[in-house]
Symmetry: C2
DNA sequence: TAGATTGTTAATCGATTAACAATC
DNA sequence: TAGATTGTTAATCGATTAACAATC
């Protein structure tokens, strides 16, 4: 196995932080100034020590007996997740899922700015979907080189996914968000995050199957 | 913390299995009869022992020097993930994401059958989207009780998510696939799988931030 | 002050990886 | 048979949880 030096924080922690942000945003709306780990852990059914460690990763310092400043904590978590800067993205594959992502307003909260979409289907090219133009995928690499594009979103089928990833790498895109059910091969300095729906569904249906077995066992 | 007796398999393993299935499906198309752990681990950049342990979870028995039967392995993994049976699902929230899920043909491969969709927006009610009728969400609970519905898919906003989950629980739905950015509170016998896009995006942008820091450090 | 909460160190738990015997 | 591969046990690694001192 290729060993990669690990600078990055524990992934389980990274995955919990967005949920903290949801709670904190609500508290901010309610004008709460401070929050304790215990409060967050109760809201999310997590261990309070785990919450404390996760928060410590962001560099925040709390006040004993008082807790953490809600506002400061929101800022620190956003910075930790890299949501404090705007990132320009290209999306390739304007099918159902791609279209849904183009219309997902919430991405603005995370600094994700999808500037252009691409496809190879002539029926889709030339359209404007949720204010985003759809161009032929052949134009993607050059456009990525000219405008600095941070993130490439892959919402094509599994057959085209590697091809699209290659074009993104050529366009010096350093982060790929891959929704295609395919393991991508990219250089070491390119980060791939997989977001296959099947993975999540598999966890659900696998656990459901097990809970049926449990019932039979009782 | 509430301790839950754990029957279910390690979640990391469950999350890797769909990727194995992709490789195996390709091999099946290529008419390969047998496959070794080493082959799969090379394809997916995983440790071969890890692959072997994951496969062992499915109950498959391999032949030394030969490997595992591709066809049998596919069946075993599908059974393990609970993808060997059809499950009826209701989807609530016919926004962009909900619509995309209704049109996602691949779900059939996983046994997921979305039978009806729901919303509370009168402009959406009465429509048929990708062959699925959209009804008012008030009708959901009763319909779930009358037809046996296994899975509820929540694609509403965070404000309505808990409310929708409550209705699903009342309708005896035992598995909830939650795309809303909200931690749901449900009885112990209901399984919730969260599939927030923000979690995946957060991992990507957090790692990208770190790799920029690395560059500055060099 | 007393006590709630943070921050940190130690212990436990679970997942990954290494080593190796069994097998065909 | 020799050797590739499985299956399993042991070692390591990392994440979670417990314990407790520091703080305001």
């Amino acid at each position: 196995m290729r060993k990669i030096r690990k600078f990055s924080a524990p992934e389980p922690s990274m995955r919990r932080l967005p949920a903290y942000l949801h709670v904190l945003t609500r508290l901010l709306r309610e004008n709460r100034l401070y929050v304790s780990c215990t409060f967050i852990s109760n809201e999310l059914y997590l261990d309070p020590t785990q919450v404390r460690k996760d928060l410590a990763l962001t560099g925040i310092v709390g006040k004993p007996r008082v807790g953490y400043s809600v506002e400061e904590l929101i800022d620190k978590i956003k910075a930790f997740l890299g949501w404090d800067v705007q990132r320009n993205a290209f999306l390739v594959g304007v099918g159902n899922l791609g279209t849904a992502l183009l219309g997902y307003q919430r991405f603005r909260l995370y600094g994700l700015n999808i500037v252009t979409a691409f496809d190879k289907d002539p029926r889709r090219i030339g359209k404007t979907i949720f204010g985003v133009d759809v161009l032929h995928v052949d134009k993607m690499t050059n456009l990525a080189l000219r405008n600095k594009i941070d993130i490439g979103i892959i919402t094509v089928g599994e057959d085209a996914a590697q091809e699209v990833a290659d074009l993104m790498v050529q366009g010096f895109i350093k982060g790929i968000w891959n929704f295609a059910p395919k393991t991508l091969i990219v250089p070491d300095d390119v980060i791939v995050e997989n977001a296959q729906l099947s993975v999540s569904l598999g966890v659900l249906t696998s656990k459901m199957k097990l809970s049926q077995t449990e019932k039979n066992m009782v």
